[in-house]
Amino acid sequence: MRRAFGAMLLVAAALAQVTWAPRLEVGGAFPNLVLLAVVAVTWTLGARSGLVWACVGGVLLDLTAPGPIGPHALALLPGVYVISFWIRNLEHPNALHVALSAALTTALYSASLVLTDNLVGMPVPSFGVAAQLAFAAAVYNALLMPIAIELVRRLQTLVRLGPQPT
């Protein structure tokens, strides 16, 4: 049940990512719904779940992107890994922490994606363009993250996935 729900959530996020999200483009960036879902899962279910679902979500994104299958999954992992330790050590998490976790994950995702693409011989944008787009996406995702985490928490309660996070 839990896995089916997670898979459905990520498939929906990936499909919305490539069909609806580009309509919300601001400053060359648009929200990364899969990244938001994965960060929300990390907040609610912990590091290991976050890492596994980052892989699943990344592969789904790779299926809609040019090039090999794996770079998006690989790019999502470092961000989830880093924020999972940060989250674990927070005593009183608030909306600002949630937003910052999305911004940090986006920055690490963007850097990892460019590096991975470079590693597998895919074309990569110049540093200036990549930095500009990564910054815009980080701000965008940070603004949407509190809404995303609330949505995932409500969905989690709805399908009785497990105990609520403290």
Partner: protein, 272 residues
């Protein structure tokens, strides 16, 4: 103690997944995996097509609701009549827009003399770094990687990858896109490159000739990457650089990828 063990298990899982994804990326890039990769990517295409259609319908619906909310102050009878008329207008506008785009495509097909395959856009690239689109035609319809993609208005990009029933198009807006062009009035040559905000053009200097705003940039065919004569865009602004061998211009692209629904794949031209 428990925290340290959990941390160590997470680190182990992280390293294992990183290695697995890196191996997957390298393996799926091999020529022998191209068929399986294309088939896997085509698997999502029908659902993407359905989602894109749903998004278009929601757009129409929300525009009707937007109009209705602005008419709340008016009386009930007029509001009902207006609602009905507005819905009709939105539907007619949508149909007219689609008709115009199809008619433009048909005219382009007749005028260009190329063999074309019409395709519907079913998705966009998942990240901002690569400006790509997914279309609902693939190798089964004669679409091959490298083929040029256009609309009735002009050049859109190139097929990057093709699966059996879907293909990924790299648009000119992609920062990696480059196309050699010439200008309609001055005949100056240059290269148009993609960018996050607009297309940029490097114009080669020529003695006594300068580029001016409003000139059209068309594919020159130089390099064999694109057929000659496809419209790319209009010069919006030119920055003259005396100390350099080239000027810089901003190009207003004839295509707005955000509003496109149909494209044409030129199937009888492959880059040399």
């Amino acid at each position: 103690m428990y925290g340290a063990r959990a941390q160590s298990r997470s680190t182990g899982l992280f390293l294992f997944l990183c290695a697995a994804m890196l191996l997957l990326a390298m393996a799926s890039q091999q020529p022998w995996a191209a068929g399986a990769r294309g088939a896997a990517k085509s698997a999502l295409a029908p659902v993407e097509g359905a989602m894109t259609s749903l998004a278009a319908q929601v757009d129409r619906l929300t525009s009707v609701f937007g109009d209705v909310s602005s008419l709340r102050a008016e009386n009930q009878r007029l509001r009902a009549a207006d609602e009905q008329l507005r819905r009709q207008i939105v539907e007619l506008n949508a149909a007219a827009k689609e008709n115009a785009s199809l008619r433009q495509a048909l005219n382009f097909q007749k005028a260009s003399g190329h063999r074309l395959v019409a395709a519907q856009i079913i998705g966009r690239g998942p990240d901002s770094f690569s400006r790509t689109m997914q279309i609902d035609r693939g190798t089964a319809d004669g679409v091959q990687p490298g083929m040029v993609v256009a609309t009735g208005a002009g050049l859109l990009g190139r097929v990057r990858e093709a699966g059996p029933h879907a293909a990924i198009v790299q648009t000119l807006g992609d920062p990696q896109s480059r196309v050699n062009v010439y200008l309609s009035k001055s005949n100056l040559q240059g290269t148009v490159s993609g960018g996050p905000a607009s297309l940029a053009m490097e114009i080669q200097h020529a003695l006594g000739v300068t580029a001016s705003n409003g000139e059209w940039a068309l594919t020159s065919g130089v390099g064999g990457g694109y057929p000659r004569g496809l419209v790319v865009g209009e010069i919006a602004s030119v920055t003259h650089r005396e100390s350099s061998t080239s000027d810089e211009a901003q190009i207003a692209w004839v295509n707005d990828p955000a509003n496109l629904t149909f494209v044409l794949v030129i199937t009888d031209f492959l880059p040399s």
